[in-house]
Symmetry: C2
Subunit: 327 residues, 2 copies
């Protein structure tokens, strides 16, 4: 039995996130038995999308078409997105009832852990200043004590949040998680429900945002809640820009009311050259790389094949989105 | 019984390494019983040194006088240096036989651990390039896989080396130590004797130098040994510049034959504005801060008091230098 798998990418996507023929061929070689059950089409910018949908059983596509999908894709059983966040896809009322949507959560934890380790230390040790001094040929000792003993408040404790938690824990920090249900596993020492976040924020030396953008999290850290942070607290955002009032954040940073920030996500990406964030005081801008590896799509396809094997064995798919909850 | 303790500092020392009256008063308050057994003099630039030596029982001094010391300081029982390295003091033939020399090793491990964690990640993730791109308002994704699985070769496995080893280990790296005797404790998985270092160098993704400068270690990583490193290896030096042929290192870096370096120590410090190191390709210059905390001298005095208590109880002093071995 042969299934039709359609891969679809926009040409404007970053290189490491494109579903190319070379990428597919390499993955198929790693999974030869499963691959021979597939007929594969590869499309760009939706040029062959309509034709492909007519017969596609499966699709890998970060931006699946939402209009009349059940009608256009009568056989479509499964859509795999290439990212972890599906905020651009919710609400999921467009998803046909016979189609399962899976995302790529779980692929980002190890890299998020490294990125948060670096972010915490760079902020604590004022590393950007030392690099600026190097450019100025200035030998100026910026001395800071070891970071152990500080407290990290991690908002969201899924794949990314647990990576952030491991980062903080291994640096000797106390880890407090903020989650929907107010529970979190180790290395979180304590967890607050998101409704109780006001109690957690004043404890943070490092506030690390890792949550997806949902109806519940958008605007979560508003101006009032930013004011609950200590004056020497620092912010790390590897989740979504929409979680926080960035205008209020920038005002606080420029006034020196926070120690600094590492921001990996922005409302507009790529961040335009005119953005004030490039030069905001004590801010380190990273271009949405904190959770991605150059082998990200190879890993995605390996996980897709694993899931395809589960489907062929009648097992439920990993990383299936619940349309009602939106995650 | 009252002892005379003399504190001596050069005015040119960095602020955080000066033995001031305020620093002493604070320490004395933390150790009131021991402090009342002491008469303390505080000198600068050797202005009152000769007078003080006549009666001093103990001295804290990074640069103790070497000439005719037994004659000038007949009662001197104990000299405490303020640093860990005593390379400027060896050979110790100047040290009177009735005088014990102690250094401040053990005070630097926790900070060295943070610094090496940051250095490994900054080199691996090419963080300096991302910060340069920020200055250029350039959104350019530099993607690197998680660092776990790489190998760190740590030269010297004392206080600093063990800190470096802990840093590498917690990032998921394999840790190989190079020590005098070819043995090292966890987190080192394997150790080579310094005479076998040629076997260890080709294994390094990160070569981390932490050894003191001794007759045995000066020039250890010469041009020939640098050539044993992999082309994508990176170098971290938090020990002493004299351990490595820096001219050869700079040539290799400029030719792109190494991934990069974080250098915290230099032949001449402060590094003069004319130094080529400020702008050497893929080099991060840190101004000899990797192992120091702003509370360094407070901790030194606390450790001195602990040792003074041991002396009063007839116990051997911690961190005593063996004049024959020079460490």
């Amino acid at each position: 039995m042969t299934f039709h798998l359609h891969l679809e990418t926009r040409r404007t996507r970053p290189e490491h996130l494109k579903l190319t023929e070379a990428l597919w061929d390499a993955a198929a070689k790693r999974h030869p038995e499963l691959a021979q059950q597939l007929r594969v089409t590869i499309g760009w910018d939706d040029e062959i999308l309509d034709e492909a949908l007519k017969t596609a059983d499966f699709m890998i596509n970060q931006f699946p078409p939402k209009e009349r999908l059940a009608e256009r894709a009568p056989r479509l059983k499964w859509i795999q997105t290439t990212g972890a966040g599906i905020d651009a896809l919710v609400p999921l009322s467009w998803l046909p009832p016979h189609t399962t949507l899976t995302n790529n959560r779980g692929a980002h934890g190890a890299k998020a852990e490294d990125s948060c380790t670096l972010a915490i230390l760079a902020l604590h040790m004022r590393f950007a200043e030392t690099l600026q001094n190097q450019r100025d040929r200035l030998w100026k000792m910026i001395l800071t004590p070891p970071v152990a003993g500080k407290t990290a408040v991690v908002v969201g404790f899924g794949d990314l949040g647990q990576g952030a938690g491991r980062a903080a824990h291994k640096l000797g920090l106390r880890v407090i998680a903020v989650t929907r249900g107010g529970k979190a596993e180790a290395p979180a020492e304590k967890a607050y429900a998101v409704t109780q976040i006001d109690e957690a924020l004043p404890l943070a030396d490092f506030l690390i945002l890792t949550a997806p953008a949902t109806a519940e999290t958008c605007g979560l850290i508003d101006r009032r809640r930013l004011a609950l942070l200590k004056r020497d607290a620092a912010v790390v955002n590897i989740g979504r820009a929409a979680l926080m009032d960035y205008a209020a954040l920038r005002e606080k940073l420029e006034r020196g009311e926070l120690a600094g920030a590492v921001l990996d996500v922005f409302d507009e990406e790529p961040l335009p050259p005119s953005s004030p964030w490039w030069t905001t005081r004590n801010v380190i801008v990273t271009p949405h790389i904190s959770c991605d590896s150059p082998r990200y799509m190879d890993a995605l396809l390996d996980r897709w094949f694993e899931n395809f094997g589960r489907l062929r064995s009648g097992k439920p798919l990993h990383n299936a989105i619940d349309p009602a909850r939106g995650y």
